[in-house]
């Protein structure tokens, strides 16, 4: 075959581009493997606000070495994950969620807080069998291959839980839940329509709180009836992980079905260089209250169940809280910043007392998160038994459920519903 000069040039160009793409792809993949995704909210979003989810089953791991069969929603293009993907939409715009069902029984999705939800074009409403018994809170997708399409107009800005409306107790326990984030139209950097709910989009977090009774999951795996009278949650999770897996980055290779981390990583408030707080969106997908307690700093609650905390005349009625009590099915959006209120400095403004041995400094034996210095960004002298201190004098504040049985892995402390908030010095951390 003979090519003209022009065609040959185009062919050469095409081959060259393809070759470069292969090489670049190979290198990019390699680089991506080195620089793993860090932390923070991973949104599923698209201009059409249309999401295709598949309900399926997969296994998740716990830090004590257990492996548990779980059901959950995954993006149809990617497959199983726990929890379901975080769907991010804009208030006032239409949303479509197409549910495909790979489970051996019917399942569905309910969207508490959203109005005018339709299932396959009809108003979403409870369904009953011929005997009048409830079969599902909304029209489900049939077992093993069925599908259903839900549509609604995204409601008020805030955070919502979405979860199964079919055999709710079992299917939610099995893991059929996820978070829906509704952003205010034109103000994606605010929690709600109020300007004082603005946050730093680089520091946005969802804490989807849940619990697992492995006996329920084992019964489902074996096809046996569930003994609900013996229900006893043994694992407590943030975003489908328990401590210390909560500290691992998003998409950690050793947690292939649990893609979401739960590390909060911020710098101190500064009016000029870091004026906006982080936002933490708490969602309770469990059966009991989770009193979530961040050490070291209050958080300002600004939204609950997708509703701004404001009075009848629009006044702000948000409040500072040191223990965020999240009730079953509830969502709480809280702004969080870390402020150097007293401006302690080892030279110009030293702490005028002998530092007490407090929890954050010394909890178990000689172990500590600290840098041997109470001053952010400073490192103290090396104790005789160690070779070096932490990276840059950063703080690590523990944050956990204050119902301490929920801060365990199958009863072993510490673990469970726990993570850390990392605060770097104002100038940042050179290692990051």
């Amino acid at each position: 075959m003979r090519l003209t000069t022009a065609r040959r040039s185009r062919a050469i160009g095409a081959v060259a581009v393809a070759a470069l793409a292969i090489g670049a792809g190979a290198l990019a993949t390699r680089q991506g493997a080195v620089a793993a995704t860090s932390e923070g909210l991973l949104c599923e979003a698209n201009a059409q606000q249309t999401f295709s989810l598949t309900a399926g089953k997969g296994f998740v791991s716990t830090p004590d070495g257990n492996t548990i069969l779980t059901w959950s929603y995954g993006m149809s293009t990617r497959g199983f994950q726990l929890p379901g993907p975080t769907l991010c939409v804009e208030s006032g715009k239409d949303v479509t969620v197409i549910l495909h069902n790979d489970l051996p029984e019917a399942t569905s999705i309910i969207f508490p807080g959203q109005t005018g939800v339709k299932a396959d074009g009809n108003p979403a409403q409870p369904e009953f069998d011929t005997g009048g018994s409830l079969t599902s809170l909304v029209h489900p997708a049939a077992a093993a291959g069925g599908s259903v399409t839900y549509t609604f107009t995204a409601g008020k800005p805030g955070t919502y839980l979405y979860s199964s409306g079919t055999d709710v107790r079992k299917q939610q326990q099995m893991g059929l839940y996820g978070a829906l984030v509704v952003r205010p139209a034109g103000h994606a950097g605010q929690v709600n329509d109020r300007a004082d709910s603005a946050f730093n989009p680089s520091h946005e977090y969802v804490f989807l709180l849940s619990e697992v009774d492995p006996e329920v999951h084992l019964a489902v795996e074996r096809g046996e009836p569930v003994d609900w009278a013996a229900y006893n949650a043994r694992y407590f999770m943030i975003n489908g992980r328990s401590m210390p897996d909560t500290l691992a980055p998003n998409h950690a290779s050793w947690l292939p079905n649990q893609p979401y981390g739960a590390l909060v990583h911020i710098r101190p408030y500064d009016a000029a260089t870091n004026p906006l707080p982080a936002v933490i969106r708490y969602v309770n997908a469990g059966t009991v209250n989770y009193p979530f307690h961040p050490h070291g700093s209050d958080e300002r609650v600004v939204n609950k169940d997708g509703r701004a905390l404001q009075g009848t005349s629009g006044q702000d009625v948000g409040y500072l809280k040191y223990d965020i009590d999240v009730k079953p099915g509830q969502t709480v959006d809280a702004l969080m910043d870390w402020r150097d209120v007293e401006h302690w400095d080892p030279v110009t403004n030293p702490v005028p007392t002998q530092l007490p041995v407090i929890t954050d400094q010394l909890l178990v034996g000689p172990d500590t998160w600290f840098s041997e210095s109470p001053y952010l960004g400073k490192k103290g002298e090396l104790p005789s038994n160690i070779t070096s201190l932490n990276e840059c004098g950063e703080y690590y504040h523990v944050a956990h459920s204050h119902a301490l049985q929920q801060a365990t892995n199958y009863g072993a402390a510490f673990g469970g519903m726990m993570t850390v908030f990392r605060i770097d010095p104002p100038s940042g951390c050179p290692a990051n």
């Binding site: 070495g65 909890l363 034996g365 000689p366 998160w369 070096s388 201190l389 990276e391 690590y396 850390v420």
Partner: protein, 154 residues
């Protein structure tokens, strides 16, 4: 091949493209091998001496906390020995990078404080002092005069 053919200017674009293709394919091949090595390296080596002495088997080292922390997981083989190891607060295992002059022995809080059951997994959380450990590299775990080399870091 004549001199004229060798110097034919029309042949150069073809050779350049061929060169690019060769380089790209080499890069792809190297990446594949590298990935295979990386995957192979993810198998944690085992030491019967350490397992016999400590009653545990180290199972994972991972950099977490946005680079500032390290988790060390181990499987309990012998509960009594493992509890002794777990309770040795003053002498945690030292994790030494095999890629640079750096190590950590600084265990942070959240050491599991309960009895250990055979078959269960327990963990320690370290400060990653000065970024000593990095993903996709190897470390040596040292404890009580024993060492376990070439442990992959995730």
């Amino acid at each position: 091949m004549s001199i004229n053919q060798h110097l034919n200017p029309r042949a150069w674009p073809v050779r350049i493209v061929l060169g690019v293709v060769v380089v790209a394919l080499l890069a792809l091949g190297a990446h594949t091998v590298w990935s295979d090595r990386s995957d192979a390296a993810r198998a944690v080596p085992q030491s019967t001496a350490m397992e016999s002495a400590l009653g545990i088997r180290f199972s994972r080292v991972a950099v977490v906390g946005d680079g500032g922390l390290v988790t060390l997981f181990y499987v309990v083989l012998d509960a009594e020995k493992a509890n002794t190891f777990q309770s040795d607060l003053k002498h945690p295992p030292v994790l030494t990078s095999e890629a640079r002059d750096g190590s950590t022995r600084r265990v942070s809080i959240m050491r599991p404080g309960h009895g250990l059951r055979p078959g269960s997994t327990a963990y320690l959380v370290y400060e990653n002092t000065a970024g000593a450990l990095r993903p996709n590299e190897l470390v040596t775990i040292s404890y009580g005069g024993m060492t376990l080399q070439h442990v992959p870091v995730l």
